[in-house]
Amino acid sequence: MLLLIENLTKVYRGGFRKEGTVANDGICFSVAAGEIVGLLGHNGAGKTTLVNQIAGIAKPTSGTVRLSGRDVVADPDFARQECAFMPQAQARFDGVTPRQAIEVIARIRGAGRAAARARADELIEALDIGHWAKTSGERLSGGVRRLTSFAMAAAVPGRLMILDEPTNDVDPVRRRRLWEQVRMLGMTGCGVLLVTHNVVEAERSVDRLVILDKGRVVAEGTSADLRMGSAGLRLEVTLSLGALAPDSPGWVESSPLRQGQRWTVSLAQESAAAALEWAQGLRKAGHIEEFSLTPTSLEDAYVRIVDAGIPAEVERLAPRGDQHV
């Protein structure tokens, strides 16, 4: 196994009149070589604390982090050599062009001068940022900075790449280019740990997901595994202007969620015909503008897991995490 984390706990000591904070609580999971693993969780779930410990810049209170079999808690220098890290904070390279930044960091990470230049050319072309390759950092948009920051890590990716919110501010076309690069790195055997809030994007890009909540692993599995614990279908209706929310019919399996004019419930597959008939009736009567009936998304499953407790099915999918639930 490329990365193996066992019972990792991180407690930040409290100060005067301030209690300590448990940022990570008995975390266990792994990343295989060539695997792309998404780390999902709300703000404050403990994701950044976790990756800082893997990258050798923070020290766990207890537990182990093994990279290629080596204990990186005892040998953080090894972690820094083997992990390429793209931090969440916007990289600051005022006065430095993207080409210079990618080349210098590639050389610091061990590449020779010619290899660094060739790799910078390759990434600039692949991410389509050639137009800004010679523009000074302070004049770049947030998206181009983010892509440059990704290229700085991907230039010499090591055995494990840690990407913390890599696509924030990036336009949809270049996002696809970035994900293509991530997949190519995976194909060359590089493990990728992707930290994100963006559930939809994670679903499309990763092989496996680990969901963190309040410092614990609450679910782990493929996107299909995680969705299995959900009711099956999702009915979303758009209420007509001024219309009241409808009463929930008997086949509804979740509390309705109301966001503006949108009203959403989940239901079992067997109730699809009844739900269609009910929604068509509401539309004919003018109570709703439109409706859609779709399979439950990973986002629904994620929200349910984190906000409404963990159902037995999903808990079972987290063989290492279930003991902490």
């Binding site: 953080p76 916007q90 390279f93 930044a101 210098v104």
Partner: protein, 247 residues
């Protein structure tokens, strides 16, 4: 080429690229300080009171100030900003020895004071019309004061939170300019303040620069070199311990 040296060299290149846009601002700031000391301070006293010894204090003091301003004020402010914007954390993820990161930072901030230092020399020579009696120890003296003031500035920046660092450095520049025996002899200060300065590195820094530019009859004393050296090591030790610590 050893890993340490390669890391140091490339980190230095990375810093030069990042700092070069700000370099003109440093030169302007340092030159402004020198102008303030050389021109402004001489206006404070009537012309008949401008004894050659006092002029020598102003000339050498303006040079010391131009170094200290970068090392103890601008450099720690740069570190405080780097702490806030994540630049320091990013550098910590790079596969380089921690000591190489620190030495690259210390080197670049020390070197950043060079252009302003030259400006201070030129201004002092032009305005005050004094002749320096330069010691061969001048170059090592300048390098030591550069390194030590940056090391002490870094020690402050790493030990304190960014906001505190910004405030402390503002206070420090005021204290050094008005209440430190840099631009005037120590015996003009009250005794208790003289005692405070005997424990601080500012007075020996000024003395090193003054006595290597205008060698006294008894020759250049090694004591201030030793004191500044001790402060330099102390600053580097604090910086390294805080920087290399994994929290």
């Amino acid at each position: 080429m050893s890993r340490w040296w390669r890391s140091y060299r490339l980190l230095l290149l990375w810093r030069v690229l990042r700092i070069k846009a700000e370099l003109p601002m440093f030169v302007i700031l340092q030159t402004a300080f020198s102008v303030g000391i050389i021109f402004g301070f001489s206006y404070l006293l009537p012309p008949e009171a401008t004894h050659p010894d006092f002029l020598m204090y102003l000339a050498t003091g303006s040079i010391t100030m131009s170094i200290i301003t970068i090392g103890m004020v601008i450099a720690p402010q740069g570190i405080a900003t780097g702490k806030q914007d994540g630049t320091l954390d990013y550098d910590k993820t790079l596969p380089v020895p921690r000591m190489a990161i620190m030495m690259a930072d210390v080197s670049i901030w020390s070197l950043a004071s060079l252009p302003g230092l030259v400006a201070a020399f030129v201004l002092a020579g032009l305005r005050l019309d004094i002749s320096f009696q330069v010691s061969p120890l001048l170059l090592p003296a300048i390098l030591l004061v550069m390194l030590a003031s940056t090391a002490v500035g870094f020690g402050l920046a790493y030990a304190f939170k960014p906001m505190v660092t910004l405030m402390v450095t503002q206070l420090l520049v005021f204290f050094i300019l008005m209440f430190s025996p840099v631009n005037f002899p120590a015996d003009r200060l009250p005794e208790w303040l003289q005692a405070v300065h005997r424990a601080l590195p500012i007075e020996p820094m000024a003395e090193i620069i003054r006595t290597t530019l205008s060698v006294p009859a008894g020759g250049v004393s090694p004591t201030p070199f030793l004191l500044v050296g001790v402060w330099c090591v102390l600053g580097l030790v604090i910086t390294y311990r805080v920087m290399a610590r994994r929290v």
